[in-house]
Symmetry: D2
């Protein structure tokens, strides 16, 4: 019963097969191989963005910070939520890669709204040369709290950003999970809504370690290449990144994996709801934030459920105190694990 | 007849098998899995360095610059040769990761000597607070020119560095090739000679993308971990890096691969020598720098030989001008390709 | 009636005289002159800190960020208030000089409390290698809102920091104004309370441009010197910085100037209080944040009073809306300007 | 007999007078004062460059690195000579301010030639994304060796740079000394020759600490302002920088000071020449590099001459070994000191 993360499961057989298939003879290094070109073309097609520049890297942090650095100046501040991965979980990588830009926290929850975003932008950038200058807006969907921005929300937020002339970055570490939740097209969820730079995640959705950065405006593509190289993120044997991504995009594997993960989470959420459990955030993709008592958490974990608490610790004394458990479902989660979790819960 | 690089060949079946074997169930992310611990232990054993801190990353540039940054202050200068990968081929990644350190070029050839190193160190660091301060010495072996530092040379160079209190970094992108060439122990080639930080390469010797950084003095290990994370080089699904490295170290695969590569190069060199060809650098590992006329290069390349010129271009008019061809052999190079190359050469 | 800033007034004649006096013959550059040594000794005496390392720079931002960078690692976060100069008014200079550290905002007012500081520290640094690591605590006194930390408050805050092993930085751009407000010794307000690094301001209190950085623990003094040089902040004709600071410290000029400024502010505050005006922050040094109606602001400004609004703008329509005016008194402010301001206010 | 540096002498009375004159009443901070505007206009006139953006800073290093950073990307390399101040004497400030750019050393002497510059550029930037990319060309005149680029040389070098699309930076720490040596107009020595960014020095030629950066193409002026602020180089009481520069430019004071310094050096050089002394570099401005025996150096220094050896040390045993003495004349050097120096020399 592993609900701790979606970066801990295995990869589907298709990915292993693709690696084996790619493992034949010589291939030019550093992305100058045919498989990489094929993947780039495929991503452009999927996003209906024939002009887009597409690059592969191996980690989500690399994708985020290389993309951000490409559209951010060192004297600017990036607008994101307090729970954004780029703020909480990248050990100052955005600050490092941008050469010292700041992050301004928008609102106090899982998502920004046009109002909180506008207020945050208004509060910055009005001190002349003294203060940080307004920089890009970075949205994450699926958010770190398992919620998903609706298309109208994305449009509205991007419109606020564009009103100030600010570029929009999307952290799509769980892009596929958000996409199948919204049931829209990749283009609708990105450039049609106003997104300029996308981290298109693969690792949390079944790859060993492969992410694409999509620059819908290719103007700064050359600069991205230099940044990737000097960050140490340009793979010499690039075909093994490309093979993963090629398998991911073949026969909609990426969508099938995301649907599996989302379905497990939906089952879990429904079961919890049936038991009268409340959620800290309304489940929308592959994560469920369930409010359970300390005693219940203990019972579940004693029975073998593995997951983290989002807030609070197991160390308290009060068995009846409610603590939020963060339950993440990956594509490989067996359905019976969800069933068993719910059975244990019901006692 | 592919002699262009050792980053373009396939990986051995053992590596694919190891990935498949590791691909089962859940494993804690970010290196907190048993396979990673096993690999770290194994590397400590191989290097007879029980205290060493060992970390995995996916690219040689990442290994180099994270290691360098850990032992270099931004106001220092790193001593390396003019052909060092960190100088020529990392798009200023050392400068980026160190926060602005400089590189001082030592000598004008493939290797530094105690004399050229001492002279370079003496010429720096005598301008008080105004000039760059003396920083670490970075050696590469196998060098970019296919030569290998002898153990006595390593000792002598490290002694010079230590005489000034400077740490020693070794770029071991082709560590295994150097090791089998020297026929010594990993410890002898590193900490016993005075090396403090090692980039222990795997990618050029048969892995998809996996390198280890070995800090023989673990004092700054914690700092390394932060640097790796904020560089975007900490893999969430870390087991797939570890699986590669585990396969590499099992049953001496790494040494067998290096011996294959070196043997091909030795055959090639012998054949060239037999034809009276001169070398720009004395071949010692898996690279041969052969001086051939422009006409000969053309004939070889027309026949399907793929390789780069080290100096000069094919665009000149003089067919009799000698140009240095850089011929790199990887573990997978078929013996018959060497034979064929020599056959074409002989006309 | 100039109340816009304490960086806009003239310097006292003593400073001009000191520059003229220092302007004789040759003096070794870069701080190797006798006057600089004298100033360093004098500051150590004033702070009863014979071991302290003392350096001069020309701007408050330079003093702050060089001091911060000396005690902060790039993967750490600095704790400060939302109104801190280092956060709001240095265009990301702390992020630049630290190599990408983050700033974590403590509380929502002019000052941090032990509780808000502890809460902020607890909320950071518990995500292992993923999140920013806990870094130094940066206090400002006089705060940007004209309030002053009491000695007991300083002790309590530093105790919280020390409890987590974190160094304490003090932005003392208005150090003298705080000191005379507290009527304590410089040592009591700094190292005796737990401050490790101090920006000892001179510019806002009557100098042309001279600040001292005091490292009470001189362990990282050498590093500071490299940082100052590579920041471009080491003056060749250093004697002219030292001459300013020497004049400042002679015959308690610095305290006399601060008392003048504080007295003007006290007169102003008393006059406002007598008129029933409320304050956004309780005036304690040389700044008064007065809540006046838009109509009153207009009347004052039409009469020649120059100052900024702290919040809100003059552009609104409602003449009766209260807006906070930020009234800063410098040492040179004529008493009659205060009187006139109050006269205009009373109508 | 002080010949050690031109950063050690006093400032002329005009500068003190200007400071006193500026020291009246309130003036808007951060350069928003009338005197600053006046100085900016004056510099544009002097350079016949009405569009140029002009900024003041307090140190030569700040001027150089802020200017360089404005026209250099972090993945580029700056072309300069091995003796360039930016390479030898700024403790990696260019690397810091550019975010990690590299410096490529051109030639091996005091000056670059079109041939050595072209060769250096050709040798860089041909490794695709792997190597450093070609960045700006930074020329210094007066060079660190006291020589001066002729106008034709400047034109030829800038033409090489422009042929590769590279911007040209000029370190003019001793701009006035070069200008009076060439007897040309400021425009001829800068933008008419192809210079894009100039560090217009004042400190070495009689100011306390004031330099101008002139961006002949103002396109990146806004960026410069952010860089200056976040570098901590924006002075709040900016009028005191402007007052220095205003005095400098009034009644050709800057040219008069430079002529004084150059004349002293010419007298010194002539006297040395009359004694049969050789020069390491042909004296052209205010510095003389005289080759004298160790015994002679000792005699001169025993008699009170203060200067540095350019190469070698006094510690050797051979009294007849020739060592190069670096003799720098500033505007305030008394003529009798030159006479006395020569008298001592003649024994």
């Amino acid at each position: 019963m592993y609900f701790a993360s979606d970066n801990s499961g295995p990869v589907p057989q298709e990915v292993l097969d693709a690696l084996a298939e790619a493992n034949s003879g010589y291939a030019m290094g550093y992305g100058d191989d045919p498989l990489t070109a094929e993947v780039q073309t495929r991503i452009r097609e999927i996003f209906e963005a024939p002009q887009a520049a597409v690059y592969l890297v191996a980690t989500g942090t690399a994708a985020n910070v290389l993309g951000l650095a490409t559209v951010t100046q060192p004297w600017q501040t990036i607008f994101c939520t307090p729970v954004a991965h780029i703020h909480q979980d990248e050990c100052n990588a955005p600050e490092f890669y941008t050469g010292g830009a700041k992050l301004t926290l928008v609102g106090d929850g899982d998502r920004m709204t046009p109002e909180t975003l506008r207020a945050a932008i208004e509060a910055e950038g009005n001190r002349g040369v003294h203060g940080p200058q307004r920089g890009c807006v970075s949205l994450t969907s699926v958010t770190e709290c398992g919620t998903v921005y609706g298309l109208d929300e994305l449009h509205a937020l991007a419109a606020v950003a564009k009103g100030y002339g600010l570029p929009v970055h999307q952290d799509g570490a769980r892009f596929a999970n958000a996409l199948v939740a919204l049931d829209c097209s990749p283009a609708e969820m990105t450039w049609k809504a106003g997104v300029d730079v996308l981290s298109f995640g693969g690792t949390k959705n079944g790859l060993m370690g492969a992410e694409a950065v999509v620059l819908f405006d290719p103007d700064r593509a050359q600069e991205f290449e230099y940044r990737r190289k000097r960050g140490g993120h340009l793979f010499s044997k690039h075909r093994y990144l490309s093979a993963q991504m090629a398998a991911y995009l073949t026969d909609d594997l990426w969508l099938r994996l995301a649907r599996l993960a989302n379905e497990r989470a939906a089952q879990l959420a429904q079961g919890l709801r049936d038991c009268g459990v409340d959620f800290a955030f309304e489940p929308a993709a592959n994560m469920v934030f369930a409010q359970l008592t300390r005693a219940t958490h203990k019972r579940l974990q004693d029975a073998g459920a593995i997951y983290h608490l989002w807030e609070g610790t197991q160390e308290g004394n009060d068995p009846d105190e409610f603590l939020t458990g963060r339950l993440v479902c990956d594509w490989s989660l067996p359905e019976q694990d969800v069933t068993r979790f719910l059975t244990v819960l019901k006692g």
